[in-house]
């Protein structure tokens, strides 16, 4: 089955991204496809490469990036939500006159259309949030 996942909250403050990660991993391990993980609202904060969580705790951002690399997952940060919250890739940074970008490799920034499309194409949309 094709799953689309929507994550509404950022790392550490809410369990949403953890639950979504374990769900995604279980789906893949059981032969399903996760066709897109769409990060919305504060969920875009899962895509910054600047986090330094305690060494003895899970590294949420890296964990997503690693899973994406291993299984060719499409991790999408909503551009509008990312702009509001200061998550940018090099293009966005340049376009908006910022002096830095902070996106983690493995994530991409794109429009809400990607969420809608995922809703259309996937067999199941599962939302994790607050």
């Amino acid at each position: 089955m094709k799953f689309a996942i929507q994550i509404n909250e950022g790392p550490y403050t809410h369990e949403a991204t953890d639950s979504a990660y374990h769900f995604a991993k279980a789906a893949i391990d059981n032969g399903h496809e996760v066709m897109r993980v769409f990060f919305y609202h504060d969920g875009v904060n899962n895509g910054t490469r600047l986090t330094t969580p305690p060494q003895d705790d899970r590294h949420i951002v890296n964990r997503w990036a690693d899973l994406a690399k291993e299984h060719d997952l499409d991790l999408v940060l909503c551009v509008a939500a990312a702009q509001r919250r200061g998550i940018a890739d090099a293009d966005e940074s340049k376009r908006n006159g910022k002096d830095a970008d902070n996106i983690q490799e493995g994530f991409r920034i794109s429009g809400l259309g990607q969420l809608i499309e995922a809703g259309i194409l996937a067999d199941r949309l599962v939302v994790f949030g607050d």
Binding site: F3, E15, S19, A26, H32, F128
Partner: protein, 101 residues
Amino acid sequence: MAILHTVNKSPFDKNSLERAFNTAKDGSAVLLLEDGVYGAIKGATSSAMVEDAMKTVKVYALSADLDARGISGRVIDGVELVDYAGFVKLATEHSQVQSWL
């Protein structure tokens, strides 16, 4: 096919569990996860609502979240424990997932 309803907040925090139960049609399923697993505790003021709902819908709880919270030994009889693979399976067996946040 029936819907899988998920609840991730404690019944003492939000009305999401109540909403899930009064929306879930007979034969559908409700999965408690994250803080929603507190809804599975027996002997609480929320327990009667859960036991009543269980007459018409199947109630599940994510074991990892129960363990994390140290409440695995306090679950209402009849609530079925599942792991993440079980969560995925429930999602495939139901027509869609309605997340009561």
